[in-house]
């Protein structure tokens, strides 16, 4: 397994990165499913078996994953989660609501564990919580379970029976207990399209029943087809089901049905449902006023590894350099009388190329952009949960979900936005009685609006709650000695004090994912993205928080190198290879130094000399980074290779405008600025010198 060590000794393998991203996705899906599950339980409905099974499989994955990475605490917890969910899906639980509550708690704990990964302090805190919860789950698990029930007496094909997993066996028993017919369905499909066809069949079966198992039985005929034997339970009898599925009657064979159609044991959850506020919308479906479409409508998106996008961006960058060279050539030809006609033709082609490249660049940039819709959906989930937990009737309005932002910025915005929305919920919106007295509609409104303005995207979160009294904020800041008492502040400045670190108290309620989030962190997060946060409020009427964000951020994979004590970042996409060289390997030539690399003469530049760096002790074996841009190659000689890292290239602000050889700077996570090399400039320089020689 390839692993890279950064200067801080962090190992970042491909699998580890995928682990974190996958684990977080798993947790998100679990939370969503748990929400739906509790809504079903509250409405007294039969829990959707797919939902429980999804949750079980998610816990199962989490267990395996965290085990592989030595996260024993998380693995233990996921193991318990799996046990509880297994019982739940196998129908062996007398108190499903109690089970769900434990599951919810465990999932929240996993989420905060993940969030605190790498941070020793918060990991220490969650370790205790984990062992406490695992203890409680263990206690719950020893409670007597519902009996598994006898194997049903049905004429099912033994090959089908033998390939049923324990879970599928339970689903079979469950359906039999419900008095459904159990059918075997034979179908034959093309290798190209069988999954689509089976999906459709599955959906059709689900209308009045359940698809329990899918067994591929044999490749048909010339190997381009595949036969399947499906085990399905349905309220419809064989001929009706065949008609419903559009299959010939011979394809559906009924294997039996339980004699006395014993009804399903009524779920106990209904009676114990907590008091629900009057404005609570129906369990399923969208509430009026929710302008957000469900996740299922995002069918046409493709998940793209953002690193591939960066490769594309870099390719476009290289193409643009080549285009510049071409343009210069065209100019030279134009200038010379003898070649001016050819020059004119070349120039025309060059201009056309320039236009196309600009389109290409714009297109690639667009792919990095994602609509804010994704975050907005998450915010809807947050609001739904909050509506449930607190006694507040609040509706969420969303405008501009289609507004697009760089994927990375979008990902970084999630936490600050969630915090702001929670804040609005917790503190801004008044209880119904207070709102009525104030002449406001009982249902509070939180509105999130996004739109593009020039080079920025504005995201505004506003509410019609009680507003913020700037005087109170000022007083609190004075109490905490965060402000000079002699200071003459305008009301706007007093209001802005909410962003002062150390001011908020109740605002920092850690109901959120275990990370202490306060308004100061919101501002810090947004500022780190190159954006701004402002706040406006009218006491009694409401508050509006506005984030102004740049549309895009550039992130690249960088190779970190060092000369002496100073580090530099080289965009990895421009690196062809790296190797060790010793002084003896280099040859002096008229243009500079050369290295014989597999028979080719590679011009070599020493970074120390290029940048006039103070040379401390160079190691005996220096490192050579072979940079390439198009056809041009140059070897950059450095002292050491420090590893690979993701880097966000930031522009260098300041009075000196043109920094030759420097493309920008980045921070590698330890507070120090690291210069990012402008590979194009280095390569072009070397190329030119070689020509001159």
């Amino acid at each position: 397994m390839a692993a890279r060590r950064t200067r801080k000794g962090r190992t970042r393998s491909r699998a580890e990165r995928e682990f974190v991203s996958e684990a977080e996705e798993i947790v998100e899906r679990m939370r969503d499913d748990l929400l739906s599950l509790s809504e079903q339980q509250a409405a007294g409905a039969d829990p959707d078996p797919d939902l429980v099974n999804q949750l079980f499989r998610a816990a199962h994955s989490l267990k395996g994953l965290s085990g592989m990475f030595g996260l024993d605490g998380m693995s233990e917890l996921a193991h318990r989660l799996e046990d509880v969910l297994d019982r739940l899906r196998l129908g062996r639980v007398a108190d499903p609501t109690g089970a769900s509550a434990l599951v919810e708690e465990a999932v929240a704990l996993v989420a905060s564990s993940l969030a605190g990964l790498g941070d020793d302090a918060s990991t220490a805190a969650t370790v205790g919580a984990i062992s406490d919860l695992t203890g409680r789950i263990d206690a719950w698990l020893v409670l007597p379970t519902e009996a598994a029930g006898d194997a049903p007496d049905l004429a099912i094909d033994p090959t089908l029976l033998r390939a049923l997993t324990e879970y599928e066996e339970h689903r079979l028993r469950h359906n039999v207990a419900r008095g459904r017919y159990v059918h075997q369905i034979e179908t034959c499909h093309d290798l190209q399209s069988f999954d689509a066809a089976l999906s459709e069949l599955g959906e059709a079966i689900k209308v009045d029943g359940e698809l329990i198992s899918t067994l591929p039985s044999a490749a048909g005929g010339d190997g381009s087809e595949i036969r399947f034997l499906l085990l399905a339970a349905s309220d419809l009898d064989a001929p009706d089901l065949a008609a419903h599925l559009g299959l010939p009657e011979s394809a559906v064979r009924c294997t039996g049905r339980s004699g006395d159609a014993a009804g399903e044991p009524a779920p106990a959850a209904g009676a114990a449902a907590p008091a629900v506020p009057a404005a609570e919308p129906a369990a399923a479906g969208r509430a009026p006023g929710d302008e957000v479409e469900t996740l299922k409508s995002i069918g046409e998106t493709v998940r793209v590894d953002i690193r591939k996008l960066d490769e594309l961006m870099n390719l476009v960058g290289e193409l643009m350099i080549q285009r510049r060279t071409l343009g210069a050539l065209a100019q030279r030809l134009l200038a010379d009388d003898q070649t001016t006609r050819v020059g004119a033709e070349l120039d025309k082609v060059h201009k056309g190329l320039e236009r196309k490249l600009q389109e290409l660049q714009a297109g690639v940039l667009e792919v990095r952009m994602v609509p804010l819709r994704q975050i907005f959906e998450k915010l809807s989930r947050v609001v739904r949960r909050l509506r449930r937990d607190l006694d507040r009737a609040v509706k969420l309005e969303i405008r501009g979900a289609d507004t697009e932002l760089d994927k990375l910025i979008v990902e970084e915005l999630v936490d600050p936005l969630v915090h702001v929305v929670r804040n609005a919920f917790d503190h801004a919106i008044e209880p119904p009685a207070e709102r009525e007295a104030a002449g406001k509609p009982v249902e509070g409104t939180i509105r999130i609006e996004a739109y593009q303005r020039g080079n920025d995207v504005i995201v505004a979160v506003s509410d019609d709650g009680r507003g913020i009294d700037s005087e109170r904020v000022h007083r609190k800041a004075l109490e905490r000695e965060l402000v000079d008492p002699e200071q003459n502040l305008s009301p706007k400045e007093k209001l802005d004090l909410v962003f002062t670190p150390g001011l908020s108290t109740r605002d920092e309620v850690t109901e959120t994912s275990g990370r202490g989030v306060g308004m100061d962190v919101v501002r810090a997060n947004v500022t780190a993205l190159g954006g701004l946060v402002g706040i406006e409020s009218t006491p009694g009427q409401g508050t509006c928080l506005t984030m102004t964000l740049p549309i895009t951020l550039a992130i690249v994979q960088a190779l970190v190198v060092s000369v002496g004590a100073q580090r530099f970042a080289v965009p990895l996409s421009a690196v062809h290879e790296t190797l060790f060289v010793a002084e003896e390997d280099l040859q002096r030539s008229r243009g500079g130094e050369l290295l014989n690399l597999r028979g080719q003469a590679l011009p070599v530049r020493r970074l120390a000399r290029e940048f006039a760096l103070p040379q401390t002790d160079p190691p005996d074996k220096m490192s050579l980074v072979v940079l390439g841009l198009g056809e041009l190659r140059v070897g950059l000689l450095v002292d050491r290779l420090e590893g690979q890292q993701d880097a966000v290239i930031k522009p260098i602000q300041g009075p000196v405008a043109d920094l030759r050889g420097i493309a920008g700077a980045t921070e590698l996570g330890d507070g120090e600025a690291v210069l990012v090399l402008d590979v194009a400039a280095l390569v072009e320089d070397a190329g030119r010198l070689r020509e001159a020689a």
Binding site: E22, E166, L191
Partner: protein
């Protein structure tokens, strides 16, 4: 070059299995499938020398895949390793009963997986 089919719906687990197998000597070619359905599609396209499959997967599960492979004359000679979780002994037994040649338990030991993989592939080569 021997060719291995890895069937597992969890992306991370899949890349861990692939990484572990990639270190086999001599070098092997790994093909990844993220579901039983995908495996069914990939099987006829190349000839595999080993199949490594998870059990719990949506649509066609691992047991069903084992049953299919072992019942089809075209594929039944391909050695098959099932990857299961601790605690699913019943499913594991069923897998072995259906014809799987070996199993590893998650979290798996990469060395053990590689050992099983080489042994099974060598054995099946010897039998040809």
């Amino acid at each position: 070059m021997p060719s291995i089919l890895v069937v597992e719906d969890s992306a991370t687990m899949r890349s861990l299995l692939a990484s572990a197998l990639e270190e086999l000597e001599p070098a092997v070619k790994i093909t990844e499938a993220s579901s039983g359905f995908e495996a069914l599609r990939l099987l006829p396209r190349s000839s595999f020398d080993l199949i490594v499959t998870d059990i719990n997967m949506p649509d066609v599960n691992g047991l069903e895949l084992v049953s299919f492979v072992k019942n089809d004359p075209a594929y039944r000679s391909i050695p098959l390793i099932i990857v299961s979780t601790e605690g699913s002994e019943r499913d594991r037994e069923k897998g072995l009963g259906l014809g799987a040649d070996a199993y590893v338990v998650k979290p798996f030991e990469p060395d053990r997986l590689r050992e099983l993989a080489s042994d099974l592939m060598a054995r099946s080569r010897g039998q040809e």
